[in-house]
């Protein structure tokens, strides 16, 4: 079956051990997590996982149901790339000398909408946000001058829907708790 990159967004209570509970659901199916970002969400006390994984719709549907079944998970959703706005951030370390030698690196930085984060006498750090392929492109372009270090974050994503689904869920649950 055709494999698609899915973005799974999980909202959970902020309790220890949640990451393990979520990740074993993937590993049990031999699904390799492409990227994983965990942080506090915009709602106080709620944690957000953004996970990308290549699989098919039938499988991702089952995975998301199993994630949501975990007691401390509030909600879990999955999206294809056209349903979310997403971004990654990357840092590239290059020799300052190679920046000074020509204006090629500066032009690359302009072209890719990247920026200099730090410039010291010996090395400089360039930062770029974008999609995986753009970030990789810049890496290959910079590597002609020698990239000393390169790191890439996992994906963060925001849905295209107008309302925050989780807020609706939480307010519904609040009503049920009262009543």
């Amino acid at each position: 079956m055709e494999k698609t990159l899915y973005t799974v967004i999980v909202f959970s209570e902020n309790r220890p051990g949640l990451l393990n509970q979520v990740s074993i659901i993937f590993s049990r199916r031999q699904l390799n997590i492409e990227s994983l970002t965990v942080s506090a969400s915009s709602i106080e006390g709620v944690h957000k996982f953004t996970i990308t994984v290549y699989t098919d719709e039938e499988e991702i549907d089952k995975v998301v149901k199993q994630i949501e079944k975990r007691i401390d998970v509030l909600k879990a959703y999955y999206y294809t790339d056209d349903e979310v706005i997403y971004q990654e951030v990357a840092l590239y370390k290059v020799d300052t000398e190679s920046i000074l030698e020509s204006d090629e690196i500066e032009q690359l930085v302009r072209k890719y909408n990247a920026r200099f984060l730090e410039i010291t006498r010996t090395f400089s750090v360039i930062e770029m946000t974008g999609h995986t392929d753009e970030i990789k492109e810049l890496y290959y372009a910079l590597d002609k001058f020698g990239v000393k270090q390169y790191v890439r974050s996992g994906r963060i994503a925001i849905t295209k829907s107008t309302s925050e689904l989780l807020s609706k869920f939480l307010s519904e649950r609040e009503e049920e708790a009262k009543g």
């Binding site: 051990g17 393990n20 949501e68 708790a177």
Partner: protein, 564 residues
């Protein structure tokens, strides 16, 4: 320190009392000693059963839960005790048995130092529990215990593990207990969608050949009456998963028998002939469906379940009715028109006859001197007026128990279905008898399985638990041997067993028993066994190479039923 403060261990005891706990299965040890010390003062409120191995405690709690519907409670210490309960916890998870297991843990300051008898219990149990939580301070105990019972019991039931550090058992705290009634991240029972109810009813109303496949969800939802009303109103024949057995009396005309690998001939054939397949509280296990690619493709599928994750997991549903089976079945039944499907229902008969002639007749009433497994089970069932609880171990004894024991009331079949845990039987039977002291509890086990937890005879001795233990001894790991005969060119690789004198072993534990090898001896011994409520061990020397038939080979079409 104020006078009203109590220790964490006392808080645990009070919380148990508040949750209505009457029976605890357990085994003390270093990291749980403060709890056992507190239990000393509560022994008049709660009965503690001292098992002989922690695995026995969990299986006993499972047996207790399965016959009572209550949440089984287990207390053990840390480290090896916690790892010894793992099998039972995994078993309870896959068979949806509500259970709360409290494991001791080293003091919080020693966590993650590889302290004596420390193990990462939460890490190990997360994949096999509904919830697993480490309690590090006494103040958390009431909250965590309330939550544990709520989670274990509500929705699709399952096991919860509480990993209780020793310091939390000792610390003082102000006790205040409030049962848990709500967790915002946990919706145990999905609300009923009226649309799915009417869609399901419409499908059943237009069905010419409806067929209900019933699982444990009906028993867990206490929906036996509602199910019967539905089946009778629309005249729907029904078949059972292993764990659904006993939800409906065996002799009901709409009860067509068991599904799956060793199920009844007609039930498997008709699965691929029905036009509407109504799955209720079952999860389309591979032992029920066999090859999915050819499974019930002709039928519209209606799937009743409380767990949304079961929908479309193995078999795609045309209509999924989510909710508690007691409510959903009643809601659908209300919209059903009374119907008759006489021809369809009687079409099961020819298969039943073939199965009877070719398999059952000889199995329950053998023409040869050797005793057969089906014969033993059928005679024991008969001797108890078909009113007993049937507990099995795993393997041929289990399939034979399921096939030949007859049920007249619900919650009468206790077996390890999903996990297939050998060694489950003896402790589960102990738990079942404790949960249902006025009923006869018959355990059928093999010579292999009983030796996996045979130490629990000591529990029977100590508590005088009137379990009837029937050891079907063929000196083989029978089911594996059967597969070796059928699929491995009769290469009997390590399935032959040299066994102890089981009756002598029982005697050593003060349990009466007999070993029989003829049909007549069997009859007399069964009569003796059921004449009182004492524990009894009946060793039956059965034919060495008995087979469980019919059989659908693993991975074959469900209609590929082998009768010999």
């Amino acid at each position: 320190m104020s006078q009203s403060q109590i220790s964490g261990s006392q808080a645990l005891m009070r919380a148990f009392v508040a949750e209505g706990v009457e029976t605890i299965f357990g085994y003390p040890g270093g990291a749980i000693m403060p709890v056992y010390d507190a239990l000393y003062d509560f022994h008049d409120k709660m009965r503690h059963i001292l098992v002989r191995h922690e695995q026995g405690a969990v299986h006993a709690a499972q047996g207790y839960s399965r016959v009572t519907g209550k949440t089984g409670v287990v207390i053990v210490t840390s480290g090896p005790a916690a790892t010894n309960v793992i099998t039972g916890v995994a078993d309870a998870m896959i068979d949806s048995t509500p259970m709360v297991v409290v494991c001791g843990q080293v003091v919080a300051s020693l966590l993650a130092t590889d302290a004596f008898q420390e193990t990462d219990v939460v890490g190990i149990t997360q994949p096999i529990t509904k919830w697993s939580y480490q309690i590090r301070s006494a103040a958390e105990i009431p909250w965590a215990v309330a939550r544990a019972f709520y989670i274990a019991r509500e929705g699709r039931p399952g096991p919860v593990v509480l990993d209780l550090t020793k310091n939390a058992q000792i610390e003082l705290m102000n006790f205040h207990y409030e049962p848990c009634t709500f967790i915002r991240s946990f919706i145990p029972t999905p609300p009923i969608d009226e649309q799915t109810v009417s869609d399901a009813a419409a499908l059943i109303n237009q069905a010419k050949k409806p067929f209900a496949l019933v699982g444990q969800g009906v028993i867990l939802g206490n929906a036996e009456d509602e199910l019967l009303a539905m089946l009778e109103k629309a005249q729907i024949p029904a078949a059972w998963t292993l764990l659904g057995l006993s939800a409906m009396p065996t002799d009901h005309p709409l009860n067509k028998g068991m599904l799956g690998m060793h199920g009844n001939y007609g039930c498997n054939i008709k699965t691929n002939e029905c036009d509407v397949l109504i799955a209720i509280g079952m999860r389309f296990d591979d032992r029920v469906t066999s090859k999915l690619a050819t499974y019930a493709k002709q039928a519209k599928i209606i799937h009743f379940d409380i767990d949304i994750a079961e929908i479309n997991k193995n078999v795609k549903a045309d209509v999924a009715v989510l909710g508690n089976s007691k409510e959903t079945i009643a809601a659908v039944t209300k919209q059903l028109q009374p119907a008759r499907h006489d021809e369809w229902i009687s079409s099961f008969d020819s298969y039943a006859k073939i199965e009877y002639d070719e398999v059952i007749k000889e199995e329950v009433d053998p023409s040869t001197p050797d005793i057969k497994m089906g014969e033993v089970i059928s005679k024991v069932s008969e001797a108890t007026g078909h009113k007993a609880i049937c507990v099995t171990d795993v393997g041929q004894n289990q399939m034979m128990g399921a096939r030949y024991f007859k049920f007249s009331q619900t919650r009468s079949m206790v077996t390890s279905g999903g996990l297939g845990t050998m060694g489950f039987g003896l402790p589960a039977a102990i738990g079942a008898k404790i949960g249902a002291p006025h009923r006869t509890v018959c355990l059928f086990c093999g010579d292999g399985g009983i030796q996996m937890t045979i130490q629990e005879l000591g529990t029977i001795l100590q508590e005088n638990i009137g379990v009837k233990i029937i050891v079907l001894n063929n000196h083989f790991l029978g089911m594996v041997r059967q597969w070796q005969e059928m699929f491995f060119d009769e290469r009997y690789s390590f399935t032959n067993m040299k066994n102890p004198d089981f009756v002598a072993v029982a005697k050593a534990y003060g349990i009466n028993g007999k070993c029989v090898s003829t049909h007549e001896e069997l009859d007399h011994a069964i009569a003796e066994m059921v004449s009182n409520d004492d524990p009894y061990l009946l060793e039956v020397r059965i034919e060495p190479k008995g087979m469980v038939l019919p059989m659908v080979p693993a991975g074959a079409d469900i209609t590929d039923v082998r009768l010999k």
